[in-house]
Symmetry: D2
Subunit: 436 residues, 4 copies
């Protein structure tokens, strides 16, 4: 029973690389086995409720461009929105979706009213999940849009806001459990500062640590199986966000003893804003043992804000999924399209087309990455490059058996004058280009 | 016995704000007491040997512009360089200086030859310190200029380079001890990567951790009292440097259990390159308990590389020294001018003028900061802003006595609907402008 | 007859540098004569209607924070807004204000209805101008917020949008004439592209040229005395805006023969986004003969979007007003605060405080600039630096009397080997610091 | 008669997409006809003498890494360098090369000595051109490395430097004529400023205009057929360069009446530094009628300086060559690899491998672009999007037959309320992905 929103459209199918059908997959073939696993199970695609169904198309200089029949902050609208959302999930054949509390229900006049509405829609989503087989990749709470959070949620100067945020996250954790969500994400959009002049950074950091600890405790108490994920972002909307990037989050987790409990959800656009490539953040998380999930989009390299565009550059996707595969692939995580249409993309079909393009782009990237791994295209030369560290002396150094004096003596005695070897970067770049 | 390099110049004196003498201080008055301490003891100025005496004035598109009589990589040149350097320290009346091994001696053909030359000049510097009373703020090793380090020092794929770097650092630690240096700095200019394609980030991070641990061990073994400092920088010359920023260094130290042993030397220009303000990095280090010392310069806000200019913006200095004072001021650290003349500033006088301007700028900033603290100009409003956290409930939350359920229940029962209060940023900015 | 919005506040007065009254000027003293002119006549301050009275405090991740009694898009609200606006202009004692059509009236269902409402409020503003003596610095049309402009106004693929924009600008030019506006500004927030893939840049540029020509023609036809100003901005909200920076606008004006008709309104924040300092854009406009007016704000140097903060850095203001004075000062232009409160600055007083701080900052800058000019602090050394060009040969070269052959021959014959001279940048920076 | 530098290597051949031979082309097939022309004639590849043969591998924090037998600033070295250069051109099968005077000869003690050496090597290059069939794409003068140019060449405060630069350019134009160079390029690396404080921008702009006019005059006088090209760059090494970007250069050319005489040589990396995509700069030049040639490299999107890497992203190349083809393809211009090895790429083979990868990447891009044009993949939808402007009213507006009043009247009378249409960006991005 279609809502009619997408018109007379059939589920999107794989038609192969030569298809020119804008509503077909050319590379994403869910059942195709890549590196020993179905593509669907590798990529674990998820649609973001917020950008696709709640965002009105505004930007800092312009208002709503999208005219969706469900807009207007009513429960009726919320139900229609859910209908269309699951319709799209089904048309696309994605296995997962994600949402914030604020995406799925209109805000009430009080916390209790908001909660009541939330629970009502959560039940509806539960029913739709059962009906369609679509699953919840992660739940999350919107602790940034309402004016009460303008100066932070957990890091607010007012402990009542902390409490309000805590109550909200509790509700969202409960919902995530109810809906069998496989992860729970915290993005601290307001956990930072606009100006140091009015900010006690040390205190706010303590508040953030306390909050996260409470979340982890509660998760265990209710038996929620999903992974708790922090999503780093350096800034925007704030001037500085405490979860700046993966390395910063790691230090924070270590400080509060949570590095075994919490992982990261890495977004391409946030990596870019922090001055990193996406693959850098992925590799860092893997090296630190906290890789969890990804938010798939891209930022415009010439714009200094979070553009959240659908990915379209296959070579970049190949490098990203190369890191994902090297890290062992997703466990509970997945590939969530935290990407929004351009505000000029008004048509319902644009929603489908954007996801199809993004999914195909990821699929091409994944396949290229899998072949690079299979061929040891990069790992072979890497092994060779570091081969010296497998020597007895290399091992002795790394295992702590050498002091500065030992090494100094060896350099002097053995007249060591190391000769540099080519890093072969251009050749390796050419090798990658053989796969994309 | 002057070298004549600076011509017929008398030591630079404090002449007060109205002086128009380009070779006088207008604000830096070493003996003036600010916030209970002499300005000299607050600021602990240091001149960087490298930029002022070793840098030829080149940039990526142009070669040497400075014509210094000591250029040419000879021991004779090295001695003349030392003479002129101490002459300048004395003319300026700065209490400290800093150097890399490579700044003070010509590279030899072998490690041993380089070491011999180094030790010879270190002795000379020791004599000059005694003669002039100028002290060593910190020593450091140049592990980035020579081609042997092109792929990293501690993080090199070749363990022989690790060994060579270790031997070099040992020599520099020894020299630092000999010269009673108050700190030892590690800047990992090549400890990063050009491309992930040829990089094993996890392994390299282990190597870096091992190296740092060896340095800390050795320091204790030889009884060097100074603080070990890491100097964060996000990139340049590499695409990515492992010591990206203060928060990243903190995570790294925690990982290797060195957060009590090692602090940070924060450079304004590196903060800017990492997407932070200088005061942000200072405040972060203070919050994390690892604030050590500063490298004073400024980067051009419109240029994407490390311009290392002398500071000239007093309001910025006021905010920086406000953070330094809030952190308790320098212990072993100081204000090192890691700043270089523009390559068009050819004249010997330019060297003096640049330092004088920078020192005056810092002195004005310090005085403004001290008055802000005295007046509680910012701390008063701050205390008020976070007052809620001093309530019983606020304390209970922070001390771990509340769960998500507790808070949720309280929000519901007490019908908590927090009302935001003005952050008063513009007013606070106006307040600061009363002091600068 | 106060609206009561600002409470019981008296007009803001000059109290001198030592005042700690947050609602007094410490430097802006309208009648004080600086460089032969009253400060008010130099600075020609203007308040922006949009940020101060129409902006709800949202950002890309959060909604309204301000609760103003006039919000809600009604004519009654529009009238109250005008009352409060003029109340603030009067309290601050600013001589000017600026507005877009959309700031002052609620949008109607049709163009005609919007126009009727606009004209009604324009009459009201006219009456208020007469009553208070406050004048209109410039009028402008909002051709960017409504979804009809999402793909451009003059550069829209649909000529009907061009026509709609033209009709709107006509109404705004008419209103500007009615209200004796001293300038008319065009900011082409949507005149650019999101992606080249759907853009015919050459055609759109032609459209923009045609539109501007029509505006200039109409201005002359109705006898509007004010200057037509283009406000450059590189991007945001679009990926690329055709009026990227001053130099780009100049090329555009030359192309359409409008360089004598149109000048630029330069915004600090837009300069920063384009990779320039504010003073660079001012100096460029002066050099090209198209300097008109300024939009005064500042962008955050670490954020990649248009933060539109109130200025607070005096040294920067000194350099900016130095360029303004060098360009001969404002003719019809002025200093418009195109600056908005931070969204956490909720209180009515914050509006006053922000403007007071900004005005004081500009006044300090102006005074410093005037003294630098009086002392020839920078112009003296400049003249000396270029003295060679006053020689006979220098003049001959510049006036076109020398060919490459002539110069080549002279170099060879006279064995010219030019010797570089110090650029003395640090000394000049110190000189500036004597004034700020 | 091989120099042996590259060892025992055979000329690089096209082996097709499946080749894994690192020394074969997989896509560049000179004789293959694409869009009616041989690939070689489309792409007109050129090798840059400077990066490949003169650059020692340094960066701002490290010195020489490459050890080339011709290093050392002797005439013997210069001759060997030429031998190896032409050997590489021949091995690669590129039809063109480019050089600065300073790349090919050691600097002499006087202008005359330098000139004599230059002419000697120019003769040698002429002989080698004849021998190998390799041609000169463009000549240029190095007016930035020597300290005499530290404050500008044409824009120097000292007219003797202007004269010296003029003499140098004359020699290079003469050489370009001798060698039948098809273009002559001016890159004004020092034509800008480090600080406005010591700069008379208006005067320097006049100097630059005069210089360029002299160059154009001389070109005509000696009958040099090649195109004069300006290469825009926003900054680095200077803080600001007068030839900021294509639009800035256009305004400059218009000002001096040179827009029919001079075109632009657009570099990818410089576009990025100026805040543009490469394709933006290409499209702008085409729209303004000044598209000439390209410098092919890429900048690192996370680094703020000119990294000059070899291109490796095929989708980006497709968009770039799409603009080149739309602009009618190269006339006298070509694709010059102004790209340098990473400083760790020490081996002679790295030079070949880098060029092979870059050429293949361009070839893939070209082929994709040609097919997009053939299929009207983008131009078809574009035509449709702007169809309204082909209506009678659209044409009347653009041709100047409508006034603001006309359009206002039409909007009111016809009750025009334009309805936005989808910009279809994501769909167009998917379309492009069908070709790459």
């Amino acid at each position: 029973m279609s809502t009619g929103f997408f018109g007379d459209i059939k589920p999107v199918k794989y038609e192969g690389p030569d298809s020119t059908n804008p509503l077909a997959y050319r590379f994403y073939n869910p059942d195709e086995v890549v590196a020993g696993k179905r593509m669907e199970d590798h990529l674990r695609f998820s649609v973001a409720y917020w950008h696709s169904f709640a965002w009105p198309g505004g930007d800092p200089f312009g208002g709503q461009t999208f005219e969706r029949p469900w807009f207007g902050e009513t429960m009726e609208g919320a139900r229609l929105k859910a209908d269309v959302a699951f319709e799209m999930f089904t048309l696309l054949g994605v296995p997962y979706y994600c949402f914030h509390d604020a995406d799925i229900r209109p805000e009430g006049k009080t916390f209790s009213e908001s909660l009541g509405r939330f629970e009502e829609i959560v039940d509806l989503l539960g029913a739709k999940q059962k009906e369609t087989g679509v699953k919840l990749l992660w739940g999350t709470a919107n602790l940034f849009s309402n004016r009460r959070y303008m100066a932070g949620a957990a890091t607010n100067p007012d402990p009542d806001v902390f409490a309000y945020a805590a109550a909200t996250v509790k509700a969202c954790l409960d919902a995530t459990k109810t809906l069998k969500g496989e992860n729970y994400v915290l993005w601290g959009g307001r956990e930072g500062y606009e100006t140091l002049l009015n900010t006690d950074m040390k205190r706010e950091r303590e508040q953030a640590g306390r909050f996260l600890s409470m979340v982890v405790d509660y998760k265990h108490r209710i038996g929620l199986k999903g992974t708790i994920l922090i999503e780093p972002k350096p800034q925007e909307p704030t001037k500085h966000q405490y979860d700046y990037d993966v390395a910063t989050v790691y230090g924070f987790l270590k400080d509060f003893g949570l590095e075994k409990e919490v992982k990261v959800n890495i977004e391409q656009g946030h990596a870019i804003l922090a001055g990193h490539t996406f693959e850098h953040e992925l590799a860092t998380a893997a090296a630190l043992g906290i890789f969890g999930s990804i938010d798939m989009n891209r930022n415009d390299y010439q714009s200094g804000w979070d553009t959240d565009q659908f990915p379209n550059n296959v070579p970049e996707m190949a490098l990203a999924f190369y890191e994902v595969l090297k890290a062992g692939g997703f466990k509970t995580g997945g590939t969530n399209f935290d990407a929004k249409l351009r505000r000029q993309s008004l048509d319902p079909q644009d929603l489908l087309v954007a996801h199809i393009g993004g999914m195909d782009c990821c699929a091409r990237g994944l396949k290229a990455a899998a072949r690079m791994i299979e061929d040891k295209a990069l790992s072979g030369p890497l092994e060779e490059r570091y081969a010296g560290w497998k020597s007895a002396e290399g091992k002795a150094i790394l295992s702590g058996k050498r002091t500065l004096e030992d090494l100094s003596e060896r350099v002097v005695k053995k007249k060591i004058e190391p000769q540099p070897k080519s890093g072969r970067q251009e050749w390796l770049e050419n090798v990658v280009n053989r796969y994309v």
